[in-house]
Subunit: 207 residues, 3 copies
């Protein structure tokens, strides 16, 4: 198991927990919870695999993904009562998820021989798509379309990734620093309520 | 035409009728009705083909699917006035559809050499996805997320399928019994209002 | 660059502008605007490529698509204040987009050796899917499900296409006439409020 596979597993865990938490908060039945956790965890990777043409998609060839997701649902259920501040916990696992999946998507784009710019888009899609489906299914406004910085954090991580590659650092360091860039950007954006500059500055925006 | 292809055609008919009925109930125009019938009937199979990498997807290589769906729309239109209890009829055709498509998805997963557990997920997705798109397009809560047992019925059928394979029965018997398991589970769940046990037993659940 | 590629680029421009306009009208932030423009422009082609099995999908192998979309967003932003009648402009660019993409989808279906009827469906999907995603993401009722003729215009263009092929005309003329058929049908349908005949003629329809 190489380092990028470890990152992929950790991302799966983060997204499975964020999906399970979201489903718990909506009081779905056990099967609904498993579906949401599953879709959140595999959504981004499935879109990535379909776009670059990996047949069959990754999770179909790897039972571990299934076991990990089921384990995460059970663990989330056990610690449910302690996860009082559900929205904050959910947000944190989501942030970790997009950081890790951005790197996985970038790396798979490079392996597929795609242009760096396309790789960044692919990393961003891999990171964001699972959460978008999760939010659509539980009937929330997709996190990507709320006011704070989200996909932009993935783009920033992607740019750091290609910048660091110029410095001949070891791949693993590039992976870690890029992922941390995404997570930190996202967390700081939420804490300090950072938004992108509005192109409607001369008008009053109703939120 | 082998037995699994016959099951596929019957599933297409069931879903095309369920889609046309749903579109009629929403008073869509003729073209909208055809679209919904088409999407409901081919949705699950298209997702299945994309995930396991069948290029191009099945319905593109087979004009019969198109003819069958158009015929179903016309037949549904003719008998529309007699289908007074639209919601019940719709429910029944949907139940038959998921039963038949579960078996088709399972079988195609086995042919693709996938793990039995993955095959069950694939069967479940093949069965449920058309109905989910139908419900999203006509702006209903997707049937899979309502309170009664739905995807669980497909999982049950999938487990029966692999259980029966152990007994060296003929394939056709395995197909039929598995499909009937799904349909019966779904129908009984609705009649007796069966739900999965709730993980929120200490709280009052508002529906 | 052959003629069908030129049509593809013009369609990308039309849809990128329609997406950017839609995003402006919803006051999304800069990144949201780019995402909507991007998704609207590449949505149809991506679905087409996934269904017929082009791996990786077209826009991943062609940086020009990305540059064109970004340029369209900037141009749309600059002329934003002059685009007062936003809804009408949006509608016009959308109409041009579906006309051009219908032809691209048809042609790629023919190249893939598909049945003419399937080619027409593929052309229609290529044309309509980007707009459907755009509308779902900005929370509008998908244009395809509103009362006026929309997908029907693409079907009409597709039938003209195969009709003209019978007359041994040059391909480019067939492309142009088919695209104009779609655009004119759509524009006239909106101006004269044309609808398909209702199958519910004996009842009062509430809109």
């Amino acid at each position: 198991m190489n380092f990028i596979e470890i990152i992929d597993v950790l991302g799966t865990i983060a997204f499975a927990i964020s999906g399970a938490l979201a489903a718990f908060s909506k009081k779905l039945d056990p099967f609904g919870i498993i579906i949401i956790a599953f879709v959140t965890a595999i959504g981004g990777g499935t879109l990535r695999d379909i776009l670059i043409g990996v047949d069959p998609v990754s999770w179909m060839r790897n039972m571990n993904t299934i076991y990990i997701i089921l384990a995460c649902v059970i663990i989330t259920f056990i610690f449910k009562t302690k996860l009082l501040k559900l929205r904050k916990t959910l947000f944190l696992f989501d942030a970790i998820g997009i950081g890790l999946y951005t790197v996985v998507g970038l790396e798979m784009g490079i392996v597929a021989g795609l242009n760096p710019f396309i790789c960044i888009i692919l990393g961003c899609m891999t990171a964001c798509f699972g959460g978008v489906i999760r939010d659509i299914l539980i009937n929330e406004i997709p996190v990507i379309f709320r006011k704070n910085i989200y996909a932009t954090a993935c783009i920033a991580g992607g740019m750091i990734y290609f910048l660091l590659l110029e410095f001949n650092l070891s791949n693993n360091i590039v992976f870690i620093v890029s992922a941390i860039t995404v997570i930190a950007t996202r967390v700081l954006a939420v804490i300090f309520k950072l938004k992108l500059p509005s192109p409607y500055s001369d008008e009053i925006i109703k939120e």
